[in-house]
Symmetry: C4
Subunit: 307 residues, 4 copies
């Protein structure tokens, strides 16, 4: 018995057709999937959260943690008694607490001016533990800081629209991509998956599209990804209207090796039926110059009427 390979439950990306304006993959590469039924702390991976949050929140978090930890240790020193520290000469309790606070900050950063220093067993013990905690905690903070800084980010720029343009006597679904940065992306691979509503059904099915070329050895300038619409294409004989009606969505995933980061990077995007320009083609934007070629990155979205 023969059966066709196909998705079971459609990759979990909403087998039931949604209303036309909803996309399963957002332009920024995130999915329109909400996971529930788990307590927050089980759903969140701390490292992931700390690496993904905005720089503003990350730095605010570090500063707050630094403040809070020092306030707590200052309480501890205050509770032990500031007479166990040298050089505390504040007259009010608040002044003394503040001096304990600054002593704590000088201890946790292993700064240790020594103007204030512990002179009894309990204060020395707390200081010894605090300096060790400081080394460990700052190792986490600075590791995360550097990890965020050196994390390769999605660098590929997609054309805003895709086009349906003449291609080799037939027609082709095309979009283009480029790497706006000066670093090199190598062995760039692309996968395009088409999701459409099934005929007379509220279910969707998914097709991986054949591409004229699904891998380039390097991506020095611009690459036009082409799916030729021949007899084997699920787009064969489909019109602009039928694509809109079937709520077609083209889900794009790219993989590349980023040479500066020495890492594999991924990038995702998607095109809805309404983001396809029929009968247009992309403008040729590469210019020949004296010493090589030049490329105007800002013109990636330019299209023109196909003859």
């Amino acid at each position: 018995m023969v059966y066709k390979k196909q998705h079971y439950e459609d990759l979990g990306l909403g087998a039931k057709a949604s209303s036309g304006r909803i996309r399963s993959l957002n332009k920024d590469g995130s999915f329109n999937v909400k996971k529930k039924g788990l307590p927050l702390f089980q759903r969140i991976h701390f490292y992931h959260a700390l690496v993904s949050m905005s720089w503003f929140h990350f730095l605010l978090l570090i500063l707050s943690a630094y403040l809070v930890v020092n306030l707590l240790f200052a309480c501890l020193y205050f509770w032990i008694g500031v007479e166990n520290l040298t050089g505390i000469d504040g007259s009010t309790d608040l002044d003394k607490y503040m001096e304990a606070f600054f002593f704590s900050s000088q201890t946790i950063t292993t700064l240790g001016y020594g103007r204030t220093a512990p002179i009894s067993f309990p204060a020395s013990t707390v200081a010894a533990v605090e300096s060790m905690i400081g080394l460990l905690a700052f190792a986490l903070a600075t590791g995360l800081l550097y990890g965020r800084f050196s994390k390769p980010s999605a660098k590929i720029r997609y054309s805003n629209s895709a086009v349906m343009a003449p291609y080799q006597g037939i027609s082709g679904f095309m979009f283009r991509v480029l790497n706006p940065y000066s670093n090199q992306l190598l062995e760039v691979e692309v996968t395009v998956t088409l999701s459409m509503r099934k005929k007379d059904s509220d279910l969707r099915d998914f097709h991986q599209l054949d591409l004229e070329r699904n891998k380039v050895v390097f991506l020095p300038s611009i690459w036009t990804v082409v799916h030729p619409i021949n007899e084997t294409s699920p787009l064969y004989n489909l019109t602009e209207e039928s694509l809109l009606e079937k709520e077609a969505e083209f889900i794009v995933m790219m993989r590349a090796f980023d040479e500066s980061f020495s890492q594999t990077v991924y990038s995702r995007s998607s095109y809805k039926a309404s983001e396809i320009k029929w009968g247009y083609k992309f403008t040729y934007i590469i210019e020949q110059e004296e010493e090589g070629i030049s490329l105007d990155v800002s013109r990636i979205d330019e299209t023109e009427k196909a003859r």
Copy 2:
């Protein structure tokens, strides 16, 4: 001469059939294999051990090491003579030893308050060496701390049971998986190996099962892995009883690229014959909402009677 490719000595996973209740792969992904004949220190890789131990043990180990090293250096300073350190004003030997201990802790963390400071050649030399050792040792400790924190862990959640459910006119062995976290797993690949006792023998053989789909480009919600039981399947015409009698075990390995960690991650699990529900199918748990789809992670194990 033609011969069939097959395992020689069955992957070393116990060619002799074990009693039915033993599994070769535990639910947590570890193997039921004990290695002996090597001294402990040759069998253990320090880095591996330090990265794999529990957080409690790891932090306890660091704290103990910190304590022990400072106690030892304090002995050294005490043996050299505390008169070689400034600011030691303890009256008893124990007091003086404790002051030496705290001086050591201020040196190894490079805190250096300076209230206590070395004033002779031997004490200064020990302090110079200790501060260097401190920098190196804390680099190891904090490196391991960060390494543990940023280590991608197996994040895939497997359904507790597998099912034998109708699939495309025939029957299929199915289980489902999801990633409960908010990070993305990309290019997820699965391998399912079936291990069964040979007929009239106490040996086992191993079969890699054909899957409806052994790779998905991303895993935003839930994936039902299906092995269709057609004529070429080693499960063809087998009943629930014969699987139990043959002590069947389905060994699952998944590989994925974890986008937040920028690393390849692996996950393993297994299903014994007794963990398969015959005639059940998984409940459809994806809900269409206003702005996308939603998935109740806690319902992954839900099955219902297949029609």
Copy 3:
């Protein structure tokens, strides 16, 4: 309908033929592509820039940043008033400013001699913040320093010229490569792409060349990469003159796993038609010695008249 797979817009590497002396890939592996139309800060990735700049510029940058930051914090302490710091005994404002500057450097490095120490709330606060900033900033600087140091660099050495030499009764395009270092490159793969001007056109087309062998398991000494010129080769029946006229360029990309760095590394180079020696072959430079073989790395470019 059948159509041949081919590049659309020719990889963006200048479909319009350039004048003969321009190469698309430089000998150092960089591309002759200029990207414009983006503001500088969007085109540059900080990490990439900091990892790619020369060691001289990198160290100069760190030193300058250290100087500037300390000058700024010194201004801050000076503005707060140096009477808030102990041990400032300079007589002139410049002297006092310099003492504040050195206090700042002792704070940002968490050195903290303590001869100068903050004694009021505002000065203590600035010092507490400065020491934290110091820990974070030095973590970035040292992370980058180590990242640069441990970054695998292209290590493959290419022969200056390629040759057209007899090969197995026909002729072959050949160049050779070696790894001059003592570390091992494993699973070395090579791709050779030929770019030529189309007949009677100012466009170029690209051909990936079949190689006698496109992968070696390891590269302990020297490897001669060979493209045999049989009937299927785009070089079939082409002469030295036609290659020059078609402005042929052979673009080479190699990928390998670098065992010491535990990373995948890439290397690129190219040969223009004018860098091919016709009728020459590479000299055999491996010598058999008592305890193994020996290889004179400096003789990689040696060729001799082919019989």
Copy 4:
């Protein structure tokens, strides 16, 4: 025209046959290839050298560098004049130099007790620079220390000898491997290359051998790698004597993903004709126990007369 794919110049591994006792790949995985013709500093990559040297040499190097750098900075402080440092109370020049030396060590580690502290512009400047250099230099040293510690090393244990044993009615070349450690190796792949002297020639040729199985999904216990000697094998009809005469060498390379290190690791070994036992087979060393199977790692080399 058809031609057989084969090595050109035989991978550079000594096409001219060497005397029988020389192996191209040593048991430890290093190659018997000496590279010359390059100055030392061009042949050595610093990072590679520092990561590959023994622990003893590495720690000795760090200690020496620490000593030398402090001696140099002490000279600088001495030359500036120790009267620019507080707390120097040595009576002789040597005493003063030693105090400058210890001041330097307290500065470079950012310890900064403060008993000795710089009080003039030149001394403060040198100290400010030294503490910055200290932070950078220790970052390199500790980065290397951790890099060495967390570097995955070849962990695969090979049987000392290979065997020629009966296999499925024919004969097979076999050796076995195991991972003695408790960490998991995943997706283990093996390549076996046979190198033999050509008939009536002093050249060698190389054959990649077909294996019964060249990849296992995991390697929990022991794996017997088998090359079946059928009609297509280069070993077909060869005897023990002819293998010795042809100076056969079996070069083994394994690749695996090491789960604890989250990295791809490689391992190499080789078998000379004289290390093959004809008519023997490996002893079955897996034992079934109550709670799983057990494996005596030390018995990996055990063979027995094949029936």
